[in-house]
Amino acid sequence: MPEQPETALDAITRDAADHATPADAGTVDFAAVTSGPETARRRRRGLRVGTWVAGAWMVFVIGGAILAPWLPLDDPQNSVTDLARKGPFAKAGTAPGHLLGGDLNGRDMLSRLLWGGRTTLVIATVAVLIGFVIGGLLGLLAGYFRGRTDTILAGLFDVFLSVPAVILALALVTILRTQPSASGRSSAGLDPEVALIIALGIVSIPVLGRITRASTMSWSEREFVVAARAQGARHLRVLFREVLPNVLPAMLSIALLGIAIAIVAEGTLSILGASVQADQPTWGNMIASGRQVIAIAPHVVFEPALMIFFTVLALNFLGDAIRARFDVREGAL
């Protein structure tokens, strides 16, 4: 129960304050006011180090991705024969002047990592944004209205969740990229990037929808929602002004995890050959193409893999931080 966390000491001091001056209403909230912000500060301090490192990493990755066109980098498509398979820990030797070496075609790894991050992050973020908006909306409706709306939407979520995510995404990418024409012959469909975004977006809809639905259900039962309705508020207002702000922290924290999962999914689809064209770098297809030379130039695989690893880790940390940050408010309830 949310009322629990008040300590015995708080209760005693508050009681004492009450009995000392029962007529003075101003003293009653004394204990609550002084205890509130202090517990909040204490919890925030405990999270600081991990959260800051995770935040700094994301600033670095996102900053690099945004600034890639203006940074003094080699062209990510430019092959230099001398550079091929050379790097920090490659058997073939090092490449002076190229911090992270070159890939199997002699293209600068650093440049490709930053440009690849650009593509990967855009795909993952936009895909999860689609899931966030559509899944969140459907989850809110299902959790708030219950009844038949819920049966249909929750059933839909379950159907989508019962198909392995990668297989579903693979199927969707394939369908979206080949558009059957009237003559029955397949022709080129959507842009591969757009197809990937839509496919990953559709895959993330039921995940976010389920979480939003569960959270909406528990918040919709709270008395303040009934109270708002008893004040004559319309469903739409109750849903977006009373329920949504309370559900949002849970949605955001899952959305950050969702971006992490989408990054990994993009990598998986790359290896299966369903991502964007190999000459446009993403972290996923850099790993996919580097597999051929993993024995002599492991850095070609490990560098993008580490980017994925640290980014996924950082997003997990930030997701947890959001949840913990808002737990303070729940605890004080």
Binding site: R222, F224, V226, A230, Q231, G232, A233, P245, R329, L333
Partner: protein, 342 residues
């Protein structure tokens, strides 16, 4: 309100509300009738599970959508609302009738500032400017005696104590000037000292606004000084109904007597055993055939266990009770279970 001087504000006639469960129909409220005039306070008293909360939610039309069986008529200013859908009820919610809930900890939105919660209620019904809404909210906070209202407007519910929160709930409920306020155990979650303050605020606002109040509580003490009439409920039925003074002066129903007896008194010597009502309320799926209080009643006779007593009028006007052998009358013989209480 002067448009229909003859029509009472609220007429409740033979209202029954049941919930369908796997075990059968739970008759939470079973045939309740009363009338409430403008500016009056009706106290509804009963223990947990006596149906008082379901009754107040039935009046407000705030029952769940599914599995609810309703019967009877509820008329607000002559308009039948007993079977109104939420869509139809929205016309009444807020500006005709409003509700204060039991737990001020959960009846405010934790992520919305106090000021916003009050102005939201205002803007739902009144087409006023933002600034006027803010001023109205401030004066509402002042009228429910919230100290330092400007500062409180910008604070969140978790920064306030329970008593302050309940006062803010009252301010929200009063925002659009309702004619009928339902207070569902408004002080149960509060300290005793704060209880009196909150009830005083309610009473003051009622006088100033000439508003009718239904005060639902399990505490006869809360009702004693503040209600004009009292309705005692047991197992979904009205068991006694009377003007407050009559009820406390001349109660007929053994249940009312037992409730009163179970309030600890300061005048008693220390270590006096607190009189409790033994047993539990009956199962509302299959209530006993006779008087529903009979299994726990110290005066119960065979007739009580076999036949349901009707609600009959006592000598005093407006006083009704549901008992074969009312308190004060001399029954033919005292049953074996009467030992020690009478």
């Amino acid at each position: 309100m002067s448009e229909h001087p003859a029509v009472p504000l609220l007429e409740v006639a033979d209202v029954a509300t049941g919930f369908e469960t796997l075990r059968g129909l739970v008759r939470a409220v079973d045939g309740v009738s009363f009338t409430l005039e403008r500016g009056r306070t009706l106290g509804i008293v009963g223990e947990s599970g006596s149906g008082k909360t379901v009754l107040s939610r039935s009046i407000m039309g705030l029952l769940p959508h599914h599995g609810v069986v309703r019967r009877g008529s509820i008329r607000f200013e002559g308009t039948e609302i007993g079977h109104a859908s939420p869509k139809e009820m929205r016309r009444f919610w807020g500006d005709a009738m409003a509700m204060v809930f039991q737990d001020p900890m959960t009846s405010l939105n934790p992520v919305m500032k106090i000021g916003k919660q009050i102005t939201e209620a205002i803007h739902t019904h009144l087409d006023v400017t933002r600034q006027f809404g803010n001023e109205l909210a401030l004066s509402l906070l002042e009228s429910v005696r919230v100290p330092d209202p400007e500062r409180r407007m910008g604070e969140y519910p978790h920064q306030l104590s329970g008593g302050l929160r309940q006062r803010i709930c009252i301010a929200v409920a009063l925002a659009c000037g309702p004619q009928l306020l339902l207070a569902d155990e408004p002080t149960t979650a509060l300290d005793v000292t704060v209880q009196a303050q909150v009830l005083d605020v309610l009473a003051q606002q009622q006088r100033e606004r000439f508003m009718a109040v239904i005060l639902v509580t399990h505490d006869l003490g809360v009702v004693a000084g503040r209600a004009d009439d009292v309705l005692v409920m047991y197992a979904g039925q009205v068991v006694e109904k009377a003007p407050t003074a009559t009820l406390f002066g001349n109660m007929k129903m053994p249940y009312t007597e037992a409730l009163l007896r179970s309030i600890p008194k300061l005048s008693e010597p220390s270590h006096t055993r607190l009189a409790a009502i033994p047993g539990r309320p009956p199962d509302l799926v299959a209530p006993p055939p006779g008087c529903r209080f009979a299994p726990r009643c110290p005066y119960a006779q065979d007739k009580c266990r076999e036949e349901m007593p009707p609600l009959v009028a006592a000598e005093a006007p407006g006083h009704e009770y549901r008992c074969w052998f009312p308190v004060g009358s001399t029954p033919v013989s005292i049953g074996p279970s009467s030992g020690g209480v009478a």
